[in-house]
Symmetry: C2
Subunit: 152 residues, 2 copies
């Protein structure tokens, strides 16, 4: 499925979303949902700071933006960062067929668990995504740990 589309161009949309979030003073994680032909269905970014809402991770925002849908099997979730358990659970429950991960160096979420459960996983290991999160985590560690539920 993933071979049918250009992974880098899909990741570009998620990266733009992460940069948008950063410009808003938020956590720079972006995501986008596409169909298997590469058509954009929804896009979004983490809104913890902007909306004062802990429930909106980048993948949640993109999933919401895509609206209601009966069948996600032919969809691809693209995210700048390895999906946390919350977002991995979203992918598994709704049967999203594939996930493209920008990078999994600064945070290692549930993408291997998803692969074990039949989801096609592509880890791009994009240097821009790595640099973006490394800088953010160094500058705002408290905010980052809050976003992934790491207590003090």
């Amino acid at each position: 499925m993933i071979d049918m589309v250009d992974t880098e161009s899909l990741l570009e949309v998620a990266y733009e979303e992460a940069q948008r979030g950063l410009a808003e003073g938020g956590i720079p994680i972006g995501a986008a949902l596409f169909d298997s032909a590469g058509n954009l269905l929804g896009r979004g970014h983490n809104r913890r700071v902007q909306n004062d809402d802990p429930s909106v991770h980048a993948e949640t925002d993109a999933f919401r933006d895509a609206g209601r849908r009966r069948d996600y099997r032919d969809t691809i979730m693209v995210t700048t960062l390895s999906p946390c358990w919350y977002c991995s659970g979203l992918v598994r429950q709704f049967g999203i067929g594939a996930v493209v991960v920008g990078e999994a160096r600064t945070f290692h979420g549930g993408h291997e668990w998803l692969a074990e459960n039949g989801v096609t996983i592509t880890v791009v290991d994009d240097p821009r995504c790595v640099a973006m999160m490394e800088k953010f985590i160094a500058e705002r560690p408290e905010l980052w740990f809050e976003d992934i539920g790491v207590a003090e």
Copy 2:
């Protein structure tokens, strides 16, 4: 932790939320987040129909209603129905310490996976919760399958 509070009274809040959702024309699943002393932190219900939003399950809504928080270890998520993978992922990622499940007969989600990962799980097996979902699923199967990502 759970022994410190009355499980039935906590479940009552989640049940009221489910009934509220049903009265709004929505899917009757409710949830509430409490601290370990039984103080209510947030409450909510599934909003797929009401908000036209597939990302708001009952647990998500209660979690959002509780606002931003750095540490969830002493919190209890109470839900009328076994949490799906999306909501189980929420519990695991944010380190919520305990989950009270109204029933797990009409839907079996990730509560055992949570137990394996250190979350205290209590399944009440409440007859009202079972009857509420059995009636809903019989009347609105398409909506129910949409909400748990079961494709046609």
